[in-house]
């Protein structure tokens, strides 16, 4: 299939998701409120901590808020574009309903990942972006078009990294059938991405900053917006995105070979 055909499929899925949302309007508002409430909780945590101290690991209040906003933005994008798809993949592999995706004439990973979009997650990306913009304003930053595009590209890399992490998590269903609750491990890693890199010491530093992409994913875009472009950080982020996407694709394809239709 050509790229144009994939794009048409994706647009059809987008249309389907929007129609679905219009059918279940109440759900849309409810789930948007849920996500909004959770973001509010995280913003409040920053507010409360900085009532009692001026700096956390060298980050001022609005720098920290910008970091938290960046982390939320990446997570909302994952929720909006990929979450339900990958979450349901685990369930479908368990029930054998996954056959349906394999029967489609397209790349299985594309078909699995793009079937549904969640407009509530996407609506809240604007709120998260608002938090980032507000923090940047309070910091007196005036990023040019170039900086904003660079930041957007880095958030895009962040989305790739979170997508890869979550794909690896749900792909374990191919090996271990009973994986209910496994998505908790994704959230656990994502929790670390709201922390500044300088706060990590010792083993946590090795694991979360260097081995797992939990910290780099949010810290590099935030730092770039605050302090300007630094080639080695940008390369680090880009390298990590490519490496984790490659690993996730590998794990998914390996898992696919093990898939034996209905299980239990």
């Amino acid at each position: 299939m050509s790229l144009r055909q994939y794009l048409r499929i994706w647009l059809a899925c987008l249309r389907y998701s929007l129609v679905r949302t219009l059918m279940f309007r109440f759900d849309f508002f409810l789930w948007s409120a849920v996500e909004l409430a959770w973001m509010g909780v995280n913003v409040l945590l920053v507010e409360v901590i900085y009532r009692h101290t001026d700096s956390v690991a060298g980050w001022s209040k609005y720098e920290m808020l910008l970091l938290v906003g960046t982390s939320m933005l990446i997570q909302r994008l994952l929720m909006g574009f990929f979450w339900s798809n990958l979450f349901e993949m685990g369930r479908n592999v368990r029930t054998g309903y996954f056959d349906f995706y394999l029967a489609q004439p397209g790349n299985p990973l594309f078909m699995v990942s793009t079937r549904k979009l969640d407009p509530d997650g996407l609506a809240n990306t604007f709120v998260a972006a608002g938090v980032v913009a507000y923090s940047a304003h309070r910091l007196g930053l005036h990023p040019g078009v170039g900086s904003v595009l660079l930041y957007a590209a880095m958030v895009g890399c962040g989305l790739v990294i979170h997508y890869s992490l979550f794909l690896i998590t749900t792909s374990t269903t191919f090996w271990i059938i009973k994986t209910e609750g496994i998505e908790g491990s994704y959230f656990t890693i994502a929790d670390f991405s709201r922390l500044p890199r300088e706060a990590f010491r010792g083993f946590a530093n090795v694991l979360m900053v260097y081995l797992l992409p939990a910290v780099v994913v949010s810290n590099v875009p935030a730092q770039t917006l605050i302090h300007g472009f630094q080639a080695r950080y940008a390369l680090w982020l880009a390298g990590v995105s490519v490496a984790w996407l490659a690993l996730a694709t590998l794990v998914f394809n390996r898992g696919l070979k093990r898939y034996a239709s209905a299980s239990s």
Partner: protein, 269 residues
Amino acid sequence: MPAALTKYGHVFLVGLQSNLVYRWNFLIRGFFSLARLAVVFILWGAAYAGVTQIGGYSVGQTFTYFTVLIALQFMIGAFNEDYQIGEEIRNGLINQFLLKPIDYYVYRFTVFLAARVVSGALVLVPLLVVFPLIQSHLTFPGDPWRLLAGVPALVLGALIQFTLAYCFGLLAFWFLEIQGFVILSFAAETLLSGQIFPLDLLPPALFRIAQYLPFYYMMYFPAAIFTGRLGLSAALTGLAVAAAWVALFFVIARVLWLAGLRKHTAVGG
């Protein structure tokens, strides 16, 4: 009374057995909680760099607070009781209780107790594993009254959490889907029960409001008694407010149950 004890005693034993099936789930959740504890240690450790006290408490006291909170979540927290009750109503399993001399609330609470005995015992495993690492950061006040006031605070906290979950479950009499309500209230609950930060770090006016909300008594109140964030008089006032909330929730649960039964059409079963 002895007959009732025997009856619900059996329910408790069955509850124990059916929750032991989920021992691995509880254990894995316990280990995930350790990761959350690590986030807390890293964040608050960095916040304390350069200051000796935040809100009048040392870094050790703050770590102790969050560690106790994790144990409390597994010992008195409501996990998915609302969902289970909603499911029983939706698919008609509840019908069997209407025909038997069993009080659904007491039955459900007994099962909840059994579940918390299992999860409460299992959370000790991950906590013991990291104990050598975090031991030097933990500081507990020695006052004996804290134990005397803390235990009733735990019981009241468990009753508030369970009864609220029970009320949410009963909403299934009216609504097809209750998960949205549950998760929305969960955000408020997590924040206002002090699981994101100790509530006494809030601006004083907000903290005073929080003290009159039921969420305060779910986790924060017992944790604050055990970790020395509350004085004796505040603890005694708190016990009275908590008891009033329990009474109010009992009434709401009863009203919802009676009204719900009138709506109930007993499908399935």
